[in-house]
Symmetry: C2
Subunit: 245 residues, 2 copies
């Protein structure tokens, strides 16, 4: 039942964000059988290299995808927010090239591979939604590359926070201005390629410029336009706006 796996309709919201999902598609989503599992903060939902079988959806909690260097260096390669599909490549690939780690206590719904893929076969719009989610993920990765490759620490952090604000707003999880980000500054640093000490300094600089407010892990954007400019952020490619179908 969807009421079990998706009490807030977040997954439906995710799927329908890019593609036209009809009502009966939604109902079909709701008939999926899912078992849920809760993970503590810091625990691994998937491990790199291991194979997986079921589709995993985030009911609640924030997670991230993370790769490891041989020398122990950690790079976070994307954030996963409630409503996201944890392993959209499940259809085509047997093992992951990254770890999935909980930033906080999280609840994951698992749907059997065969069951979900039958659903996809019957509902082309759900398949298209998944395909587009995959394409959007690639865009985000390229955006991160641009962010890490050529910007100052302050700009990187601002971009990161902007993206989080925009994504949670799109998903209906925040108003786009106030949000809490359940990540340590070390984890933010691992996301944008700087040290935690410098994350702290970058945030302070953004606060001192009057762009945001910050206490503990809560953020409030004071001047959205200026803050976006500080992060060279545009939400142009967050969504796949022009659909060919």
């Amino acid at each position: 039942m969807i009421s079990e796996i998706d009490p807030c309709g977040l997954i439906a919201k995710n799927l329908s964000a890019h593609s036209q999902i009809q009502l009966f598609d939604n109902e079909a989503l709701g008939r999926l059988k899912a078992r849920t599992r809760t993970f503590e903060s810091g625990s691994y939902v998937f491990r790199e290299g291991l194979s997986f079988a079921d589709y995993a959806f985030v009911i609640s909690g924030h997670l991230f995808r993370q790769k490891q260097n041989l020398d122990g260096y950690r790079q976070i390669v994307s954030l996963i927010i409630p409503g996201d599909v944890v392993n959209p490549e499940n259809r085509f690939v047997n093992n992951l090239d990254y770890n999935v780690v909980c930033a906080e206590k999280s609840c994951i719904a698992y749907v059997q591979k065969s069951e979900f893929e039958s659903l996809i076969d019957v509902h082309p719009s759900i398949r298209l939604a998944l395909d587009i989610i995959t394409a959007a993920e690639s865009r985000q990765l390229r955006e991160w590359l641009l962010n890490i490759g050529g910007r100052s620490a302050r700009t990187r952090v601002a971009h990161f926070l902007n993206e989080f604000a925009a994504r949670t707003k799109l998903r209906g999880l925040s108003d786009g201005l106030r949000f809490s980000l359940p990540m340590s500054q070390e984890q933010i640093g691992d996301s944008v390629g700087i040290t935690p000490v410098h994350v702290s300094r970058s945030i302070r600089s953004l606060v001192e410029s009057g762009l945001i407010k910050h206490t503990n892990r809560r953020y409030e954007i004071v001047d959205l336009n200026a803050f976006r400019q500080a992060g060279q952020f545009t939400e142009r490619f967050l969504l796949v706006d022009d659909l060919p179908h």
Copy 2:
């Protein structure tokens, strides 16, 4: 005719690298009608934000995908080698979030969107091949993020060269040890997030360590194991090795 659009069978090689492509699929590929076009070095094949309609395949020449910062900074986000699909997301997305630029004089084959998608509908293995190519592209982006995010300039350059050697070998374009890379050191720097001056120094350091030889834009790997180690490179995720189907 395939003999026109793919004289060396590179595109078939690309498609069949990940997925089981049957003989009759290959023949169907060969019956595609394509018009070819030649681009000079430095010219744009696609521009960010513009929509596109046809599928583009690389017959010859190397190209790269490139994003631009507001302040003019350029980040190369992936290399495109002969046999690659230039715009695999064409099925799901109407406009690109990156530019496609020729690193050298290149020949591109265009296949009409409708024609190629009819082919996909009839040949599930070709569709699967495209899907897997997309998944592999995401893996490569994450690998680049790890490379840029947390490694020294020398390691980044070594990783970049290793990846190029491995990819061209897989495609049958080099023996994996000797290759010419048609990119300026500025472009290499734009790929790994360092300045061209530092690219020069990094290459010199790799040469002085006896790992590679280098003249003009030709490279020769002297000690493959040591060179891979220097770049923290593993080809584990270049291919999607375990197929679920």
